[in-house]
Chain length 143, copies 2
DNA sequence: GCCAGCTAGTTGAGGATGTCAAGGTTCCAC
DNA sequence: GTGGAACCTTGACATCCTCAACTAGCTGGC
Protein backbone atom coordinates (compact mmCIF):
# COMPACT_ATOMS: atom_id res chain seq x y z
CA UNK A 1 0.00 0.00 0.00
CA UNK A 2 1.62 3.20 -1.17
CA UNK A 3 0.33 5.88 1.05
CA UNK A 4 0.09 9.51 0.16
CA UNK A 5 1.96 12.49 1.44
CA UNK A 6 -0.86 14.95 1.83
CA UNK A 7 1.42 17.54 3.36
CA UNK A 8 4.47 17.30 1.16
CA UNK A 9 6.97 20.03 0.40
CA UNK A 10 6.10 22.22 -2.59
CA UNK A 11 8.99 20.93 -4.66
CA UNK A 12 7.79 17.37 -4.32
CA UNK A 13 4.32 18.47 -5.35
CA UNK A 14 5.62 20.25 -8.41
CA UNK A 15 7.70 17.26 -9.41
CA UNK A 16 4.72 15.01 -8.91
CA UNK A 17 2.48 17.25 -10.95
CA UNK A 18 4.87 17.09 -13.88
CA UNK A 19 5.21 13.37 -13.50
CA UNK A 20 1.46 13.02 -13.44
CA UNK A 21 1.11 15.03 -16.60
CA UNK A 22 3.74 12.98 -18.38
CA UNK A 23 2.04 9.78 -17.35
CA UNK A 24 -1.31 10.95 -18.66
CA UNK A 25 0.14 12.05 -21.96
CA UNK A 26 1.88 8.76 -22.41
CA UNK A 27 -1.19 6.82 -21.37
CA UNK A 28 -3.13 8.41 -24.17
CA UNK A 29 -0.53 7.80 -26.85
CA UNK A 30 -0.14 4.24 -25.65
CA UNK A 31 -3.86 3.57 -25.81
CA UNK A 32 -3.88 4.96 -29.33
CA UNK A 33 -1.02 2.70 -30.34
CA UNK A 34 -2.79 -0.31 -28.85
CA UNK A 35 -5.90 0.38 -30.91
CA UNK A 36 -3.85 -0.45 -33.99
CA UNK A 37 -2.97 -3.81 -32.50
CA UNK A 38 -6.66 -4.26 -31.63
CA UNK A 39 -5.78 -4.66 -27.98
CA UNK A 40 -7.15 -2.98 -24.91
CA UNK A 41 -4.86 -1.84 -22.12
CA UNK A 42 -5.66 -4.84 -19.93
CA UNK A 43 -5.21 -7.28 -22.76
CA UNK A 44 -1.82 -5.77 -23.56
CA UNK A 45 -0.86 -5.92 -19.93
CA UNK A 46 -1.87 -9.55 -19.68
CA UNK A 47 0.07 -10.37 -22.82
CA UNK A 48 3.13 -8.66 -21.40
CA UNK A 49 2.92 -10.68 -18.21
CA UNK A 50 2.73 -13.96 -20.09
CA UNK A 51 6.38 -14.65 -20.73
CA UNK A 52 6.92 -17.27 -23.42
CA UNK A 53 8.97 -19.62 -21.27
CA UNK A 54 6.98 -19.20 -18.08
CA UNK A 55 3.29 -20.11 -18.33
CA UNK A 56 0.99 -18.68 -15.69
CA UNK A 57 -2.05 -20.08 -13.97
CA UNK A 58 -5.22 -18.05 -14.26
CA UNK A 59 -5.03 -17.24 -10.56
CA UNK A 60 -1.47 -16.01 -10.91
CA UNK A 61 -2.49 -13.74 -13.74
CA UNK A 62 -5.33 -12.44 -11.58
CA UNK A 63 -2.79 -11.67 -8.86
CA UNK A 64 -0.41 -9.70 -11.04
CA UNK A 65 -3.26 -7.91 -12.78
CA UNK A 66 -4.73 -7.04 -9.38
CA UNK A 67 -8.21 -8.09 -10.28
CA UNK A 68 -10.67 -10.85 -9.52
CA UNK A 69 -10.39 -14.29 -11.02
CA UNK A 70 -13.78 -13.93 -12.67
CA UNK A 71 -12.47 -10.94 -14.55
CA UNK A 72 -9.50 -12.86 -15.85
CA UNK A 73 -11.84 -15.47 -17.26
CA UNK A 74 -13.30 -12.91 -19.63
CA UNK A 75 -10.00 -11.34 -20.56
CA UNK A 76 -8.46 -14.70 -21.36
CA UNK A 77 -11.61 -15.71 -23.23
CA UNK A 78 -11.07 -12.84 -25.63
CA UNK A 79 -7.35 -13.47 -26.04
CA UNK A 80 -8.02 -17.14 -26.63
CA UNK A 81 -10.74 -16.39 -29.16
CA UNK A 82 -8.14 -14.47 -31.13
CA UNK A 83 -5.71 -17.36 -30.96
CA UNK A 84 -3.14 -15.50 -28.89
CA UNK A 85 -3.27 -17.67 -25.80
CA UNK A 86 -4.05 -21.26 -24.90
CA UNK A 87 -5.55 -22.72 -21.73
CA UNK A 88 -3.82 -25.94 -20.77
CA UNK A 89 -4.70 -28.35 -18.01
CA UNK A 90 -2.05 -28.58 -15.32
CA UNK A 91 -1.13 -31.56 -13.21
CA UNK A 92 -3.64 -30.26 -10.67
CA UNK A 93 -6.64 -30.38 -12.91
CA UNK A 94 -8.33 -27.46 -11.21
CA UNK A 95 -5.57 -25.21 -12.49
CA UNK A 96 -5.57 -23.89 -16.02
CA UNK A 97 -2.21 -22.81 -17.28
CA UNK A 98 -1.92 -20.07 -19.84
CA UNK A 99 0.58 -20.29 -22.65
CA UNK A 100 1.20 -17.99 -25.58
CA UNK A 101 0.57 -19.32 -29.07
CA UNK A 102 2.92 -18.50 -31.94
CA UNK A 103 0.74 -15.53 -32.87
CA UNK A 104 0.52 -14.51 -29.25
CA UNK A 105 4.28 -14.58 -28.92
CA UNK A 106 4.73 -12.39 -31.97
CA UNK A 107 2.15 -9.89 -30.80
CA UNK A 108 3.61 -9.91 -27.31
CA UNK A 109 6.95 -8.77 -28.66
CA UNK A 110 5.35 -5.75 -30.24
CA UNK A 111 3.47 -4.97 -27.06
CA UNK A 112 6.58 -5.27 -24.90
CA UNK A 113 8.47 -2.99 -27.23
CA UNK A 114 5.62 -0.51 -27.19
CA UNK A 115 5.49 -0.42 -23.41
CA UNK A 116 9.25 -0.21 -23.02
CA UNK A 117 9.73 2.62 -25.46
CA UNK A 118 10.11 5.89 -23.59
CA UNK A 119 8.11 8.86 -24.83
CA UNK A 120 10.01 11.44 -26.80
CA UNK A 121 9.89 13.76 -23.82
CA UNK A 122 12.27 11.41 -22.04
CA UNK A 123 14.21 10.14 -25.04
CA UNK A 124 14.89 13.71 -26.11
CA UNK A 125 16.54 14.71 -22.86
CA UNK A 126 20.28 15.26 -22.69
CA UNK A 127 22.13 12.13 -21.64
CA UNK A 128 23.07 13.63 -18.29
CA UNK A 129 19.41 14.33 -17.50
CA UNK A 130 18.46 10.81 -18.46
CA UNK A 131 21.07 9.38 -16.13
CA UNK A 132 20.06 11.68 -13.29
CA UNK A 133 16.39 10.83 -13.81
CA UNK A 134 17.11 7.11 -13.76
CA UNK A 135 19.20 7.38 -10.61
CA UNK A 136 16.70 9.51 -8.74
CA UNK A 137 13.81 7.23 -9.64
CA UNK A 138 15.84 4.20 -8.65
CA UNK A 139 16.39 5.77 -5.24
CA UNK A 140 12.71 6.66 -5.00
CA UNK A 141 11.58 3.11 -5.68
CA UNK A 142 14.13 1.56 -3.39
CA UNK A 143 11.92 1.96 -0.33
CA UNK B 1 0.47 13.33 -30.33
CA UNK B 2 3.29 12.01 -28.22
CA UNK B 3 5.17 9.64 -30.41
CA UNK B 4 7.36 6.84 -29.15
CA UNK B 5 11.08 6.38 -29.30
CA UNK B 6 11.28 2.73 -30.25
CA UNK B 7 15.05 2.89 -30.54
CA UNK B 8 15.99 4.91 -27.50
CA UNK B 9 19.24 4.76 -25.55
CA UNK B 10 19.30 2.22 -22.72
CA UNK B 11 19.43 4.86 -20.01
CA UNK B 12 16.23 6.44 -21.29
CA UNK B 13 14.58 3.04 -21.32
CA UNK B 14 15.66 2.32 -17.76
CA UNK B 15 14.40 5.67 -16.59
CA UNK B 16 11.15 5.11 -18.37
CA UNK B 17 10.73 1.66 -16.89
CA UNK B 18 11.09 3.08 -13.38
CA UNK B 19 8.71 5.88 -14.17
CA UNK B 20 6.22 3.40 -15.53
CA UNK B 21 6.43 1.32 -12.40
CA UNK B 22 5.94 4.34 -10.17
CA UNK B 23 2.93 5.41 -12.19
CA UNK B 24 1.34 1.98 -11.89
CA UNK B 25 1.91 1.82 -8.16
CA UNK B 26 0.43 5.22 -7.66
CA UNK B 27 -2.47 4.46 -9.95
CA UNK B 28 -3.43 1.57 -7.74
CA UNK B 29 -3.20 3.48 -4.49
CA UNK B 30 -5.13 6.34 -6.01
CA UNK B 31 -7.92 4.08 -7.19
CA UNK B 32 -8.10 2.59 -3.72
CA UNK B 33 -8.33 6.05 -2.16
CA UNK B 34 -11.08 7.02 -4.59
CA UNK B 35 -13.16 4.01 -3.60
CA UNK B 36 -13.55 5.58 -0.19
CA UNK B 37 -14.93 8.72 -1.79
CA UNK B 38 -17.21 6.47 -3.87
CA UNK B 39 -15.75 7.92 -7.04
CA UNK B 40 -14.35 6.23 -10.09
CA UNK B 41 -11.22 7.54 -11.77
CA UNK B 42 -13.12 9.29 -14.53
CA UNK B 43 -15.56 10.86 -12.12
CA UNK B 44 -12.69 12.18 -10.02
CA UNK B 45 -11.00 13.49 -13.10
CA UNK B 46 -14.16 15.24 -14.25
CA UNK B 47 -14.62 16.75 -10.82
CA UNK B 48 -11.06 18.02 -10.86
CA UNK B 49 -11.59 19.69 -14.21
CA UNK B 50 -14.70 21.49 -13.01
CA UNK B 51 -13.19 24.51 -11.33
CA UNK B 52 -15.66 26.29 -9.05
CA UNK B 53 -15.39 29.65 -10.75
CA UNK B 54 -15.24 28.38 -14.30
CA UNK B 55 -18.21 26.30 -15.42
CA UNK B 56 -17.66 24.04 -18.41
CA UNK B 57 -19.94 23.02 -21.24
CA UNK B 58 -20.51 19.32 -21.69
CA UNK B 59 -18.57 19.44 -24.95
CA UNK B 60 -15.63 21.15 -23.27
CA UNK B 61 -15.57 18.46 -20.63
CA UNK B 62 -15.63 15.85 -23.38
CA UNK B 63 -12.62 17.54 -24.96
CA UNK B 64 -10.50 17.62 -21.84
CA UNK B 65 -11.52 14.10 -20.88
CA UNK B 66 -10.66 12.94 -24.40
CA UNK B 67 -13.83 11.01 -24.89
CA UNK B 68 -17.07 11.22 -26.81
CA UNK B 69 -19.87 13.53 -25.86
CA UNK B 70 -22.21 10.60 -25.39
CA UNK B 71 -19.89 9.24 -22.77
CA UNK B 72 -19.89 12.50 -20.84
CA UNK B 73 -23.66 12.38 -20.68
CA UNK B 74 -23.51 9.26 -18.58
CA UNK B 75 -20.67 10.44 -16.39
CA UNK B 76 -22.43 13.70 -15.63
CA UNK B 77 -25.71 11.84 -15.09
CA UNK B 78 -24.10 9.94 -12.24
CA UNK B 79 -22.45 13.00 -10.74
CA UNK B 80 -25.69 14.92 -10.97
CA UNK B 81 -27.63 12.07 -9.40
CA UNK B 82 -25.34 12.36 -6.42
CA UNK B 83 -25.90 16.08 -6.22
CA UNK B 84 -22.31 17.00 -6.99
CA UNK B 85 -22.92 18.81 -10.26
CA UNK B 86 -25.67 20.80 -11.92
CA UNK B 87 -26.56 21.15 -15.57
CA UNK B 88 -27.53 24.70 -16.38
CA UNK B 89 -28.87 26.11 -19.60
CA UNK B 90 -26.52 28.56 -21.23
CA UNK B 91 -27.37 31.57 -23.32
CA UNK B 92 -27.07 29.25 -26.29
CA UNK B 93 -29.73 26.81 -25.27
CA UNK B 94 -28.09 23.92 -27.05
CA UNK B 95 -25.25 24.15 -24.57
CA UNK B 96 -25.50 22.74 -21.07
CA UNK B 97 -23.13 24.27 -18.63
CA UNK B 98 -21.82 22.27 -15.72
CA UNK B 99 -21.42 23.82 -12.32
CA UNK B 100 -20.38 22.31 -9.03
CA UNK B 101 -22.88 22.23 -6.19
CA UNK B 102 -21.81 22.97 -2.63
CA UNK B 103 -21.31 19.26 -2.01
CA UNK B 104 -19.50 18.92 -5.29
CA UNK B 105 -17.15 21.74 -4.39
CA UNK B 106 -16.32 20.16 -1.06
CA UNK B 107 -15.69 16.77 -2.61
CA UNK B 108 -13.65 18.34 -5.38
CA UNK B 109 -11.24 19.80 -2.85
CA UNK B 110 -10.56 16.40 -1.44
CA UNK B 111 -10.07 14.97 -4.91
CA UNK B 112 -7.70 17.72 -5.92
CA UNK B 113 -5.68 17.22 -2.78
CA UNK B 114 -5.61 13.48 -3.38
CA UNK B 115 -4.36 13.88 -6.94
CA UNK B 116 -1.81 16.52 -6.03
CA UNK B 117 -0.29 14.58 -3.17
CA UNK B 118 2.93 12.96 -4.29
CA UNK B 119 3.46 9.33 -3.35
CA UNK B 120 5.80 8.66 -0.48
CA UNK B 121 8.42 7.46 -2.95
CA UNK B 122 8.74 11.04 -4.17
CA UNK B 123 7.99 12.84 -0.93
CA UNK B 124 10.64 10.78 0.82
CA UNK B 125 13.44 11.78 -1.51
CA UNK B 126 16.15 14.15 -0.34
CA UNK B 127 15.35 17.75 -1.18
CA UNK B 128 18.13 17.92 -3.74
CA UNK B 129 16.69 14.92 -5.59
CA UNK B 130 13.24 16.47 -5.54
CA UNK B 131 14.56 19.66 -7.07
CA UNK B 132 16.53 17.81 -9.70
CA UNK B 133 13.53 15.66 -10.55
CA UNK B 134 11.29 18.67 -10.91
CA UNK B 135 13.80 20.48 -13.12
CA UNK B 136 14.45 17.51 -15.37
CA UNK B 137 10.74 16.82 -15.83
CA UNK B 138 10.12 20.49 -16.55
CA UNK B 139 12.73 20.33 -19.28
CA UNK B 140 11.22 17.12 -20.60
CA UNK B 141 7.74 18.57 -20.87
CA UNK B 142 8.92 21.82 -22.41
CA UNK B 143 8.88 20.38 -25.91
C1' DG C 1 -11.07 -45.13 2.67
C1' DC C 2 -13.97 -41.28 3.09
C1' DC C 3 -15.86 -37.03 3.69
C1' DA C 4 -15.69 -32.03 5.10
C1' DG C 5 -13.61 -28.24 3.69
C1' DC C 6 -10.62 -25.77 0.80
C1' DT C 7 -8.95 -24.10 -3.91
C1' DA C 8 -9.38 -22.95 -9.00
C1' DG C 9 -12.08 -21.51 -12.36
C1' DT C 10 -16.63 -20.36 -14.51
C1' DT C 11 -21.15 -18.27 -14.78
C1' DG C 12 -24.59 -14.73 -14.27
C1' DA C 13 -26.17 -10.31 -12.46
C1' DG C 14 -25.23 -5.60 -12.30
C1' DG C 15 -22.65 -1.23 -12.82
C1' DA C 16 -19.21 1.97 -15.10
C1' DT C 17 -16.82 3.20 -19.17
C1' DG C 18 -16.25 3.58 -23.94
C1' DT C 19 -17.64 3.68 -29.12
C1' DC C 20 -20.91 4.47 -32.82
C1' DA C 21 -25.24 5.69 -35.20
C1' DA C 22 -29.42 8.08 -35.03
C1' DG C 23 -32.40 11.65 -33.48
C1' DG C 24 -34.18 16.12 -31.31
C1' DT C 25 -33.26 21.10 -30.33
C1' DT C 26 -31.34 25.15 -31.17
C1' DC C 27 -28.58 28.38 -33.67
C1' DC C 28 -26.76 30.79 -37.72
C1' DA C 29 -25.77 32.14 -42.48
C1' DC C 30 -27.71 32.75 -46.60
C1' DG D 1 -37.53 31.31 -43.61
C1' DT D 2 -34.82 27.40 -44.54
C1' DG D 3 -30.92 24.28 -44.75
C1' DG D 4 -27.11 22.90 -42.47
C1' DA D 5 -24.24 22.84 -38.49
C1' DA D 6 -23.55 22.40 -33.42
C1' DC D 7 -24.82 20.38 -28.95
C1' DC D 8 -26.63 16.97 -26.35
C1' DT D 9 -29.17 12.62 -25.56
C1' DT D 10 -30.58 7.95 -26.45
C1' DG D 11 -30.01 3.13 -27.60
C1' DA D 12 -27.18 -0.75 -29.08
C1' DC D 13 -23.16 -3.07 -28.19
C1' DA D 14 -18.39 -4.33 -26.28
C1' DT D 15 -15.08 -4.33 -22.46
C1' DC D 16 -13.81 -4.19 -17.75
C1' DC D 17 -14.76 -4.83 -13.04
C1' DT D 18 -17.01 -6.73 -8.73
C1' DC D 19 -19.75 -9.96 -6.17
C1' DA D 20 -22.27 -14.23 -5.18
C1' DA D 21 -23.19 -18.79 -6.37
C1' DC D 22 -21.76 -22.88 -8.52
C1' DT D 23 -18.88 -27.03 -10.30
C1' DA D 24 -14.85 -29.77 -10.32
C1' DG D 25 -10.98 -31.35 -8.09
C1' DC D 26 -7.76 -31.75 -4.27
C1' DT D 27 -6.41 -32.74 0.76
C1' DG D 28 -6.12 -33.60 5.60
C1' DG D 29 -8.08 -35.77 9.66
C1' DC D 30 -10.62 -39.42 11.20
Amino acid sequence: MTSLATSAPPVAREAWKLLFELARTKHRSLTAALVELELTAVQAHALRLLEPERPLAMSELADVLHCHASNVTGIVDRLEARGLVERRAGRDRRVKTLALTKDGGRLRERVVELLAAPPLEIAGLPAADQRALRDILARALQR
